[in-house]
């Protein structure tokens, strides 16, 4: 058992025993291979189910506001950023929150593995190697080969706020954010991009798993469920799918912390991230704003400046 897991469990045990928190939100082993699942520990007896590894892919901030009482939460860099946005938006009370920060080396992109070996039957991780037994064959991977796309470009692997840090911190090169992935798409022709997104939109079945996985989609009534006005009809078609996706991305403008939870939750492999990243880039370039990098500050759309760019105006 790794030192980090040990420390997480000890911390949880102490916090619960001393009555500092009512619940510890962390990860436990899931019922499927390579999938951890969120876990809510209410008493010190339960702490031994807590784990920490490259399968801890959910953004636990999703559960923070929904869990009543005082809570401790295991937070990677992106979880902590989502918590920061939730605090900025008054969805959480800082004093009710105890953040157990863990620096994150990234999580596994299961889809990449599944595409090669079929359904994953068994898997084990040790020393940065992942051995997988799949329906259509076995394979061994280096973790770096199957690291999730979002983790490859992560600028904040260390929690941006925390009450306690567990394990080492990760060195990150400081500098301007890079958006090579967005630029690659931008450099294509309008037609090529349209074809690409038509294909993506045709794949979506509007199950809303992406929305449910997102820590910042906390609306009591989402616009997709609203009856009056009725933004979406019951049918699933490409134009409506785009209405949903673009609407959601707009709602996350200047808020999305690029944790990738939505893309990983999608059963259809829709490239949701392509939309979110474009939005993140625009907000960064136009308003010099990065979401959730501190508890202070406001989401980009809650602010304005008299000199905001106006290239979007109609040609006259």
């Amino acid at each position: 058992m790794s030192k980090i897991i040990n420390d997480i469990r000890e911390t949880a045990r102490q916090l619960l025993a001393e009555g500092k928190v009512d619940v510890v939100i962390g990860y436990e082993k899931g019922s499927l291979p390579l999938k951890a699942t969120p876990c809510f520990v209410h008493s010190s007896e339960g702490v031994d189910s807590l784990i920490w590894d490259e399968t801890c892919e959910n953004n636990l901030a999703t559960y923070a506001a929904k869990t009543p009482g005082k809570k401790a939460i295991v937070a990677k860099g992106c979880d902590s950023r989502a918590l920061a946005v939730l605090l900025q938006e008054n969805q959480l009370v800082r004093d009710d929150l105890y953040i157990i920060g863990v620096s994150c080396h990234g999580v596994i992109d299961q889809r990449r593995i599944g595409a090669e070996v079929g359904e994953i039957l068994e898997a084990s991780i040790s020393d940065g190697k992942i051995s997988v037994k799949g329906m259509e064959g076995d394979k061994e991977y280096l973790f770096t080969e199957v690291k999730d796309a979002t983790c490859r470009t992560c600028r904040y692997p260390n929690p941006v706020m925390e009450d306690l840090h567990i394990g080492d911190t990760i060195e990150v090169a400081q500098g301007a954010a890079a958006f090579a992935d967005v630029e690659a798409l931008e450099n294509k022709s309008d037609n090529e991009r349209q074809e690409y997104f038509k294909e993506q939109m045709s794949k979506c079945i509007r199950c809303y798993a992406c929305r449910n996985a997102c820590p910042l989609c906390y609306c009591q009534e989402c616009f997709v469920d609203c009856n009056s006005p009725r933004w979406l009809t019951g049918g699933v078609n490409r134009a409506e799918n785009l209405l949903f996706q673009a609407g959601r991305v707009m709602h996350l403008a200047g808020r999305c912390v690029d944790c990738g939870a939505c893309s990983r939750a999608c059963p259809q492999g829709v490239d949701i991230r392509a939309l979110n990243r474009k939005m993140t880039k625009d907000v960064y370039v136009m308003y010099n704003h990065e979401s959730g990098i501190s508890e202070e500050g406001k989401p980009a759309l809650n602010e304005y400046s008299a000199n905001d760019p106006e290239q979007f105006l109609v040609k006259e």
């Binding site: 349209q194 074809e195 134009a239 209405l243 707009m250 939005m279 979007f312 006259e316």
Partner: protein, 155 residues
Amino acid sequence: MGEIQVETENKKYEPKIAAFLCNWCSYAGADLAGVGRIQYPATIRTIRVPCSGRINPLYVLKAMANGADGVLVSGCHPGDCHYISGNYVARRKFALIKSLLNHVGLEEDRISFSWVSAAEGGRFAEVVKGVTERVSTLGPNNGIFKVVDGGAADE
């Protein structure tokens, strides 16, 4: 039958453009154009809103998904908002939705944003002419928002 077909073929394509106009400026500008009998194409379907800040980006998306050929959004010039800062708040949303939709391959000219004051009746007519010309060149909304299998229109 034959005759009707000839008629539709000869009929010039007229796009349908949903126009969201702020009550305090562009809507009054459109009114002024009307009072001054300034001609502009009858392609816009005006929807009056209390402020450009009231324009939810979902309105734009819903109009496109419901088959509009174009959308025009117009509010007060920056600094002139009746509610002081509504158009500043709107400006960020407009810039982002426009950029996002272009990224997914929506033609640049389908969605237009402008600032037109209550005194600019002539300019309002010019904007509508320009937008109509460009949307007509693009033709019907058959790209990324093309309604396939079933349709998004409300019953």
